[in-house]
């Protein structure tokens, strides 16, 4: 009978004797079944419930339901309210007479909805507290992110929220300021996930989290600090493909510049954009000038005294001097949000996220057309997504995109039906070993989105760990264990294998476990072990085998 030890012995013997045949999913690269392709693209992974919903509503209505779904739902609200994230630190002092007591408690996620003005105390170094308290807001958002990805009903909104987090990346743990402003940033991205790109871009440019992460909060005349302006052009709007400094040395030589809208940008556009955003800072009480401080609003603040008011030339267009408060920056954002280069760059990224690494160029062009035509629509992004799903290339593209580490974990829990219950961020540390730094990716690029960027040895080794351990007690990601997630009615090895195949791959027709099981001295028809521990091992083994499959890892 199956025991851990006998398993091991037999495997070693088999390996010594030669190749160990293991099941190969039918259809190999094709991945999951038809409906699963859509669910795996537009959600964090198919579940039995979402399969039923899709089957009953049909793809169009299912998509409309997702686009209409509000950010919260009753189940998610209940789970977020019940969640506890441990905070623990030793007693300490700040070296200036301030002390704090040792703390070790299970604390609710109480800062997710907090008004940033109310969190400014965490930035006050006159008040003694452990650093863990100052960055707690960011930790809560990170903890909530897995819960949302697995359990939110508004799945597509969560997928797009993650997309915008990567597109407008802020490393929430970069400093206590980015941490304190991060819950508001997360809420804003979620609210605007399907909205108007210009509105979203404006919110990002004025978000205290972004202003502190890329240092624009400190940018003033003169010389301006170009950090935000450069990433605004390179990462948020036009994209590096439209950066022409290696080819073009003067603004007037950029195609389109003479007509008032340059097709691409050079370093001088970065410098001019940086001047446009001087004075865009944060209301955190900072010193602006003699007798002048920013308000303690926890929100965007425009410091007129820091702004460089003189004439500018951006993308070939002259901005007159003294345009008035905010006007230079707003005008630059207007130009960028409706620029064809931005439309192509952003739409290619959306298609790369929701469809495939290398989306069909005709599809991208089509989406860019929708993006530009609908530039005034409040639901501009939703319209782009609708156009993507309706395009023939969407259905014609086979699955083949590697799930990234966070997506592997979320999809696994969704498929098995586990409940996220992480009192600590151990799962987050496990993902970081695979290169995934949830809301804490240091460079402003955000996580890469090509399979080739992830198909390396540490990704694969850690995905094996996730497949093996994500349901273990010590992993502290979800409950209950794999063994408790299969119905008691499953009596045989074959039924357990079939169960996971249905859950993870969306079809019960995969066979081929028989030969493997035979090698372990059991057959598909054999009953599962009676001993609870042996049964747990057998079920977990079958889960790992089902997860380590192209049908699950490629979407």
């Amino acid at each position: 009978m199956l025991t851990r030890r006998s398993f091991h012995r037999q495997l070693l013997a088999l390996l010594a004797a030669g190749a160990l045949p293991l099941p190969r999913p039918a259809g190999a690269a094709a991945g999951g079944g038809g409906g699963d392709a859509l669910l795996n693209r537009l959600s964090f992974g198919a579940t039995e419930t979402s399969r039923r919903e899709l089957a009953s509503a049909g793809p169009e209505d299912w998509l409309e339901g997702q686009l209409a779904a509000p950010p919260g739902d009753a189940g998610l609200t209940r789970r977020l309210a019940a969640a506890r994230l441990r905070i623990a630190y030793e007693a300490g002092d700040d070296g200036a007479g301030g002390h704090w007591p040792a703390t070790d408690e299970m604390r609710p996620l109480g800062l997710l909805e907090a008004d940033p003005a109310g969190l400014l105390g965490l930035l006050d170094h006159e008040t003694a507290m452990d650093y863990a308290e100052r960055v707690r807001p960011a930790q809560e958002v990170i903890a909530a992110s897995l819960l949302r990805a697995v359990h939110a009903e508004a799945q597509l909104r969560e997928v797009m929220t993650q997309f915008w987090h990567d597109h407008f990346n802020v490393m929430s743990t970069a400093s206590e300021a980015t941490a304190v402003f991060f819950p508001a940033y997360d809420r804003m991205l979620r609210d605007h996930a399907f909205g108007n790109f210009r509105a979203l871009l404006g919110e990002v440019a004025k978000a205290p989290a972004m202003l502190t992460y890329l240092g624009n909060a400190d940018s003033r005349a003169s010389p301006a600090n170009e950090n935000f302006a450069r990433e605004l052009l390179e990462l948020h709007t036009l994209g590096a493909g439209n950066y022409l400094s290696d080819r073009i040395g003067h603004w007037s030589e950029v195609p389109g510049a003479a007509q008032g809208l340059a097709a691409g940008y050079i370093d001088e556009d970065v410098y001019e954009a940086a001047r446009c955003f001087t004075g865009w800072t944060v209301g955190d009480g900072r010193w602006i000038g003699e007798g002048r401080e920013a308000p303690m609003s926890g929100a965007f603040h425009y410091a007129e005294a820091w702004h460089d008011p003189y004439q500018k030339r951006f993308l070939g267009r002259e901005f007159p001097s003294h345009q008035g408060p905010l006007a230079d920056g707003e005008q630059a954002l207007d130009m960028l949000a409706t620029h064809p280069g931005t439309a192509r760059f952003v739409c290619a990224k959306i298609a790369r996220r929701l469809l495939a690494d290398d989306p069909d160029p005709d599809l991208v062009e089509h989406l860019a057309g929708v993006f530009l035509r609908e530039a005034g629509a409040l639901d501009q992004i939703a319209r782009v997504i609708r156009a993507l799903v309706a395009h023939p290339a969407f259905a014609a593209t086979p699955p083949g995109k590697l799930r990234r580490p966070f997506e592997v974990l979320a999809a696994l829990y969704r498929a098995t039906g586990a409940e996220v219950a992480s009192a600590e961020l151990g799962w987050n540390w496990q993902l970081s070993r695979a290169g995934w730094r949830q809301h804490a990716y240091p460079p402003p690029t955000g996580h890469p989105d090509l399979s080739a960027d992830w198909a390396n040895s540490t990704y694969l080794a850690r995905v094996v760990d996730l497949a093996l351990y994500a349901h273990d007690q010590w992993f502290d990601g979800a409950r209950p264990s794999a063994g408790a997630l299969v119905p008691d009615t499953l009596a045989s090895f074959g039924q357990v294998c079939g169960h996971w195949t249905q859950r993870l791959h969306g079809r019960a027709d995969e066979t081929g476990y028989g030969p493997v099981l035979e090698r372990f001295g059991v057959s598909e028809a054999d009953p599962l072990p009676d001993d609870p521990e042996d049964r747990e091992h057998a079920v977990a083994m079958a889960l790992a085998v089902a997860a380590l499959s192209p049908a699950f890892l490629y979407r």
């Binding site: 190999a28 400190d218 600090n225 400094s245 992830w454 694969l460 080794a461 083994m541």
Partner: protein
Amino acid sequence: MGEPVLVVIFLRGGADALQLVAPASDEAYLAARPDFLRTDRAGDAAGIALGGDLADVDFRLHPAAAPLADLHAAGDLSIVHATGLLEPTRSHFDAEARIERAGGGDGGASGWLGRWLRVARPEGPLPALAVGTMLPDALRGAPATVAPTLDEVPIAAGHWLAPALRARILEGFGAHGPLVATAQDLVRTSELLTDRLWAPDLDAFRPYAPSVDYPDGPLSVPLRTVAQAIKEGLGLRIATVDYGGWDTHVRQADDFGGLVGGLAGPLMAFWRDLGPRQQDVSVVVMSEFGRRLLANASGGTDHGRAGAMFVLGPQARGGRMLGRWPGLENEALEDGADLAVTTDYRAVLAELLQGHMGLPDPEAVFPGLAPGRPGLWG
């Protein structure tokens, strides 16, 4: 003597070479830079004199880089100033992609280290290790192991199902998809490393006992891992280590000393840890660009052009400043703003690959590279 090893440390973000290896006697430098962003000849920020044979300028190493000054004085370290990309780009990600791919003429499919590996075809359990969690572009195009530490490499190390899982991965991914080559390499590497390093009595990898203490810092564990791979005789030939945080747009003075110390201290520890294996190892330290001569109004510096490269290793004739110093007068600056690039960074790398790694023809790695070398050996 063992087979030669090349360690590449990449300072991500654009290290300010003008504060790291400062032209401390240059009038234009003194005029342009506020004192808190300079390394000076005297005072609190006094740098360590490097004894210049470059353009009669008194180059000073940042005080936090004292261990590097020791290596320089010992004749093991050379500095090549005013190096960088010939193409003028001030974008991090564009510059990094170009530098690491180094114009392979294959549309970006391979990096310079990947091409060296394809030419040299080194064998052994671990010919190339990217320390960290992402494969740097420089290693594209050839098999390389990516892991933060050696005990992170094997699949499910010590797990009773590990052999079955390896087989599952080999079989399951068949002949398609982006994971195939990775799966094959990783299964092979897992088995070879486990054979070498697994201690059954500990149910873990045999712990590595470095011969010196490494100071704390983000480079310590990565460099200790590289030293371990070299000293364990795993056939390591190429290692890459990333060190981020150099994008000092705001309040550079707050961070710069820590960044420099975080490079110099662990690098010195690594070098001592190697012991007799020093004779086989070269280290090159580089960044995607230097930073602007003028500071911004946020107490920081913005993206510039030329930077400095460090080459550590006893094979080359060290203890020197190499390159051609273009000066910092306005007309000497690139676009009137930045230290001009006078040495193609590829010339430094090509000389290293030829002189140290035994590459016969640099054309195979750096197609179209002009002759001219900085003279690390001369």
